[in-house]
Structure formats: structure tokens, C-alpha cells
Symmetry: C2
Subunit: 197 residues, 2 copies
DNA sequence: TTGCAAGATTGCAGTGGCTGCAATTATGGT
DNA sequence: ACCATAATTGCAGCCACTGCAATCTTGCAA
């Protein structure tokens, strides 16, 4: 009487996923801007109005699953020993997420393609990442017991997210001889050791 | 007969600036979303349609001047000796821009306030920064003579921009005992020396 | 199995950002 | 004083997105 997370919710999630797939398909065929909500709704067999009870924005369809990643990062972070140096803990947390990413290259690549060619989607994605950064900074501030006047948590959070984004981008666009987790870890190591070297 | 950069252009720039001021004023009074193009146009004494010959988007009014900063960074970067270590050159370039910022706190603070409370504007701003990052990375790749498979330029560009953004944000929100250029330089130094220290 | 409250879907009317187009007006420079 | 060029504008229209209220579904408790 507790294990089940509600049948209704599961249905909703499935539906959401289905709309997502249909929409992405259309976006790839005719382009993001050329695809209307009406078309997506028709293809997903729902009323246009209903679309907005699943997604706040047309942009969100492409980025939807991005939202959960932050939770994953914080989770990993909390599992690290409290006395571990912050940067090392961050490295571990982000490496874990990188592994997640690596298992769904295809899915990611499709979204990324749309994102890269659609300004509004790209903007929205960056905005989400900024949200991560903010939350992460707060989290780090607590972990480190830093004062509000200390720029360190913000700096670390911003850097970590930037590293992740740059690595992901490089991995998805450049001829990828290297695995993502490796790429991420190397980047963290380089920053750990100092960029002036 | 050459020095003048066209009288027409100067007029246009002035007008643009004026619309900007009027609009920001309205945004602060009634909020960004509650302000319509129609209202801005009325206040600036132009036709609504004309607004869009000055700005592509309502968002752009708030961020307009952001666009030029990148040029400044690249400019500063080009003035650094070619054999100077990349990270040090970046430090100098961004420090210069930080000085620019510092001279217009008030102007910046107003825009920043609107940006912070208006998702779409924030998103647009981040998108611009992503553009910087891209251009900067390409610039660095050339400067360093790096291969396309080398993630370094991207990493450095992403990190530098992140540092700048984090510093600016901290400077504008936290009780500012420290000057922005100092903040930026310190951050660059910390990354230069290594975050693992 | 059944009844119903809670939730999901939908239609409708409307707002407002943004665009293409074509007509009109203003103006810098010759 | 003239004119090519550029700026301004009105109009019609597209589409993302919203509030509201009505209708339909359905999980679940009795």
C-alpha cells in the first residue's frame, strides 16, 4: 500500500514520454520552428490544449529529461565523505552523471542536434543549467561551511558545470576517440592541478 | 569626408539608446512581462512596428549592450604577446573587461535585476554568453595551434566565461567589499594554481 | 460491482510577440 | 533643389501560450 507510486502518475509519465518521442520525430523531419503544437498534438492524438498540461513550453519537449540530472548530481555528492576535498567530490559526482550520459548517446545526440540548431531551445537549456549551478552552489556553501561573502562555492559550481558542458559538447561534436567519463575526469584533473601549468 | 561614420547611423544609435532607457524604466515599474511592446512604443513615441527595426526581441532591449563585450575580449586577447601562456592571457583580457563593467555598476545592476526576475531574458543572456564561448574557443584554438580533437580550447573558454559570470554575479548580489577586477583576477589565479589545493 | 470525488482532457476566446509586405514619409548628400 | 536610399508605419496574419469552465475518465473505497 505504499510501494506503488500511483498508477495515474505512471500513465502520465508514459504519455509524456510518448509525446516527447513523437515531437522529436517531427522536429527532425521538418525543423523545430516549422512544427506547430497543433501538429504535435495531432500526431500524439491529443487536443492541442492538452499539450500544455504535459509541457510548459514547446522548448521543454526537447530538454525534458535534463531536469532530473541535477538531482542525480546532488545525490552523488551527498554520498561522498564529508571530509573529502570539495573538488574531488565534485569530480566523482560529475563522473557518475557522465556515465549516465554515456549510456544514452543516441537519445542525447538527437536532442543535441535540435538544440544546436534552435536558439530558443539552446537558451532554455542553458537556463536550466544556470538553475543547477545556483542550487549546486548553495549545496556546496553548506558543505564547506562558507560565509555568504565567500565567492568560492559559486566559483566551484560554475566551473564544474562549465566543465561538464564543454566536455559533453566536445564529445558529441568532435571525432570521439575518448569516452565521456574519461573526458570529464581529465578536465576535472586539469583544473584541479591548475590551468597555468 | 571619411572620419564621420555616417550621420544616419549615429541618429539610429541614439534612438536605440533612448528606446532602451524608456523600456527599462517601464520594466522596473510594472515588470517585464506586464509591459507590452505597444506601451514601450508609445512611451518612446514610435509605432509598435518600428520597435522591431531596433530590436529583434523584447528580451534584447535589456541585454543589448552585452553583445559588444566579446569584441572587447578578443581585442584585448590579441594584444597579448603570442608566447604568453594562454591562461595568463585570458586573465588579462577578462580583467580588462571587468574594469569596464566596474565603471557602470548602476547601469549593470538595473539590467541584472530585470534579468534575474525574468526567465526569458536570463535565458537569452546565457545564450549570448554561449556564443562568446564558442567564438572564444575557436580563437584560442588558433592561438594555441590545437587540433580539432583537442578539447583544451573549449575547456579554457568555457572555464573563463564561467569564472567571469560567477564573479559578476557574486559582485552584484553579495555584499561587495571587493572590487570586480580583483574578484576576477583572484578567481583566475585560483584556477591557474589548481582547485585541488 | 458500483458510485463518486479527484483528476485529466478539451474547447473557446483572448493576449501578445513577432513577421512579411507594401505604401508612405523623411533625409543626407550631391 | 532633387533624389536615391533608408526609416517609419499600418495591416493582416501566424502561432505560442493562458484562464476558465464544461465534460469526460478513472482509481479506489465501500
Amino acid at each position: 500500500m505504499s510501494e506503488t507510486i500511483g498508477l495515474r502518475e505512471r500513465k502520465k509519465r508514459d504519455r509524456r514520454r510518448q509525446i516527447e518521442d513523437v515531437a522529436v520525430e517531427l522536429f527532425e523531419q521538418q525543423g523545430f520552428d516549422a512544427t506547430t503544437i497543433e501538429q504535435i498534438a495531432a500526431a500524439a492524438e491529443i487536443a492541442p490544449r492538452t499539450f500544455f498540461s504535459y509541457f510548459e513550453t514547446k522548448d521543454d519537449v526537447v530538454i525534458a529529461d535534463y531536469a532530473d540530472r541535477l538531482g542525480r548530481i546532488l545525490e552523488e555528492l551527498d554520498q561522498r565523505p564529508a571530509d573529502e576535498p570539495t573538488w574531488r567530490a565534485l569530480r566523482a559526482a560529475f563522473a557518475a552523471v557522465a556515465s549516465d550520459y554515456a549510456t544514452e548517446v543516441d537519445r542525447l545526440a538527437r536532442r543535441f542536434g535540435i538544440m544546436a540548431t534552435t536558439p530558443s531551445v539552446q537558451a532554455r537549456s542553458l537556463q536550466l543549467q544556470a538553475g543547477w549551478e545556483h542550487t549546486l552552489a548553495a549545496h556546496l556553501a553548506t558543505r564547506m561551511g562558507a560565509a555568504a561573502s565567500d565567492p568560492t562555492p559559486r566559483l566551484l559550481a560554475a566551473t564544474a558545470v562549465a566543465v561538464m558542458r564543454a566536455s559533453l559538447q566536445h564529445w558529441l561534436t568532435a571525432p570521439q576517440a575518448v569516452e565521456l567519463p574519461t573526458l570529464v575526469q581529465d578536465a576535472f584533473d586539469r583544473l584541479g592541478a591548475g590551468l597555468a601549468r
